[in-house]
Amino acid sequence: MAHVRRPGNRKNVKKGFQFTLMVVGASGLGRTTFINTLCDAEVVPKRECDEPEMAHIEEGIKIKPYTVELDEDGIKISLTVVDTPGFGDMIDNEYCFQEILGYLEQQYDDILSEESRIKRNRRFRDNRVHALLYFIAPTGHSLREIDIELMKRLSPRINVIPVIGKSDTLTPGELADFKKRVMEDIAHHKIPIYNFPYDPEEDDDETVEENSELRSLLPFALIGCEEEVTVNGRKVRGRQYPWGIVEVDNPQHCDFVKLRYALLSSHFQDLKEITHDYLYENYRTEKLSRITDSASDNDSNEEDEHSRLKEEQFKKEEGKLKEIEDRVQRELKEKQQELWSKEQQLMSLEAAQVQVQ
């Protein structure tokens, strides 16, 4: 996927930008906390746990968008974060994939129909999702089947960025090994994630260096925390354990700061462009060619329902046609008889006439 970054891409417009980010991952991996840490505010309310008696009931996945106004170094960003609570919690999670894919394609469909309108609405809000952060469980081994399946299915429609949730459970050595194995898995299964593409010949050195550094950090190790603790007299965001304090904003402890910068400052333009120029175009091509190919195709569901009815209809029509055929044959015969008798008459009349003359 070749994408050339135009130099001097960072506009400094006062109007502000819009960016939509989707966050997907099993519950308990720090997704909600991450969103709140990213926006530095309680955007997503903490999960209230249901009654213990209802804990065995499987709730499906829910898709919840939240919009926040952020200010990054003077640039205003209207950030929409789409949370997906309930993902991976059920015993059978096949349905979750469909839900998310349906939501993403719905946004594309809206844009498609809007573009095809005669009179377009200038205030139309673009709800396409520009990036998806997928939270991998910090098992320390390698990717699980559900991880591979999800990334494979969603990457044709959206920029997928894998991240490791609750990475404070891994020691530095384990983290490095885990990252390596995850990237090996991704390469092995040929999953097209967003890996900060750059062109060593075309782009300038700064861009190349920046992108290759970010690429080497994939998947990003994240820790989320909303509380503040005191370390050496400073107040920092961090988690306090009996054996030490983990700081969110410390690049030695996790990759949160780098990811935040990439998402909200340096690479969001790139992500938006890829979404619009490449992913959306692909979807559009696929969808339109599907429509023209099968113009007479009925809905497969309806087919299954009506097949029996149609069979009966056919039988009836067949009977009717047979009847019509018989009747036609009979009428033909009759008419032929009539014709013949009339011919006879004619001949006798002619004969009589000849005789008379």
């Binding site: 519950s27 081994h141 054996w243 008379v356």
Partner: protein, 383 residues
């Protein structure tokens, strides 16, 4: 009841010592089942518990050769013989790789449940044999269920499996990788898990708290209060900030120690599993769970009859799905056939109609001709 007076005595009180001699010579069987998703530290925990590499860590090279289409839960048994102060234990560790790892985990607990029941079954049959000296006893004495440290609550999958396990084996819930939870989070999490366990009627392992001496009772209550146990596993020796060398995990922000009671409940769990309650675990398996199984089987079966195997097999479900797909495919083909047939019939009908029309008009023309001829004829005949 006659009690002998103090003094020499006849030696009845020596019976426990004799028992002790016999027991130490015989050794013991101990089977632990580890249940939980992959990556929760089960292997590391076992190695830490017995301070020896019982199970080798997972090999990553083979993961690309794995045919993931199978999607079943395997049962892996590792045997080891441990000896301490001339007392030997035949340890068996049963692992369940693949549990909870797939997209669809329905019925993934069947292999585990079947395994536990099969051990009871096999012991029962051996017991009924004429020769029953050499019994191989693989009955599971305790099941450690590793819970993912989400900090929220138990997942529906956890609840389903724990319900089934609790009635068959001594179930001990364990919070894995507890070094990801702060003390307050951990406390809330434990409370919530206990609430769910109570509300869902999951039977966990309990043991008699009352004991002869005060300190044992207190210790027992301590252990009970810490359920579910939070564990951190590590076989590496690391250096803490105050110079001690301990088993622990070294982070950039500190060292989490395995044997530190403030950091995790590993010590309590080890006491439970080995130091104080190993015998109770073995006994309760033999007396309660095995007897339950035996009773339920004997009520319905005669001696010597084979066990009725249930027909539900998750693999067959997949075949069912494939068949169903083929069926819908066939229906669609038939439908297309009907459609083309309909087209044909319609074309046929149109053709016949057209012929009919043609014949009609032909007849009409002839009639008209006839009429005109008749008309032409009659004036002539009138001449």
């Amino acid at each position: 009841m006659v009690s002998t007076q103090a003094g020499a005595g006849i030696g009845i009180a020596n019976l426990p010592n004799q028992r002790h001699a016999i027991a130490s010579k015989k050794g013991s069987n101990y089977t632990i089942l580890l249940c939980g998703e992959s990556g929760l530290g089960k292997t590391t925990f076992i190695n830490t518990l017995f301070t020896t590499a019982i199970k080798t860590p997972k090999s990553y090279k083979r993961r690309f050769n794995n045919n993931t289409a199978e999607k079943t839960v395997e049962i892996e048994i590792i045997r080891a013989e441990l000896e301490e102060k001339q007392f030997g234990v035949k340890l068996s560790v049963v692992d369940t790789p693949g549990f909870g790892d797939y997209t669809n985990n329905r019925d993934s607990w069947m292999p585990i449940i079947d395994f536990i029941d099969d051990q009871h079954e096999s012991y029962m049959r051996q017991d009924q044999q004429p020769q029953r000296q050499e019994l191989s006893d693989m009955r599971v004495h305790c099941c450690l269920y590793f819970i993912r440290p989400t900090g929220h609550t138990l997942k529906p999958l956890d609840i389903e499996v724990m319900k089934r396990l609790g009635t068959r084996v001594n179930l001990i819930p364990v919070i894995a990788k507890a070094d990801t939870l702060t003390p307050t989070d951990l406390h809330k999490f434990k409370k919530r898990i206990l609430e769910v366990i109570a509300a869902q009627n999951i039977q966990c392992y309990t043991f008699p708290l009352e004991s002869d001496d005060e300190s044992s009772t207190k210790r027992n209550m301590n252990i009970m209060a810490a359920m579910p146990f939070s564990v951190i596993g590590s076989t590496d020796d690391v250096l803490t900030s105050d110079g001690r060398t301990v088993k622990g995990r070294q982070y950039s922000w500190g060292v989490a120690e395995v044997e530190n009671e403030d950091h995790c409940d590993f010590k309590k769990l080890r006491q439970l599993l080995i130091r104080t309650h190993m015998l109770d675990l073995i006994h309760s398996t033999e007396e309660t769970h095995y007897e339950n199984y035996r009773r339920s089987q004997m009520e319905t079966r005669k001696i010597g009859e084979a066990k009725v195997k249930t027909v539900t097999n998750p693999k067959w479900k997949e075949e069912e799905e494939a068949l169903r797909k083929r069926f819908t495919e066939q229906v669609r083909l038939e439908e297309n056939r009907f459609r083309s047939w309909e087209q044909q019939l319609i074309a046929e009908r149109d053709r016949l109609n057209k012929d009919l029309e043609a014949e009609h008009s032909h007849i009409k023309a002839l009639e008209a001709e006839l009429e005109s001829m008749q008309v032409g004829l009659s004036p002539k005949t009138r001449k």
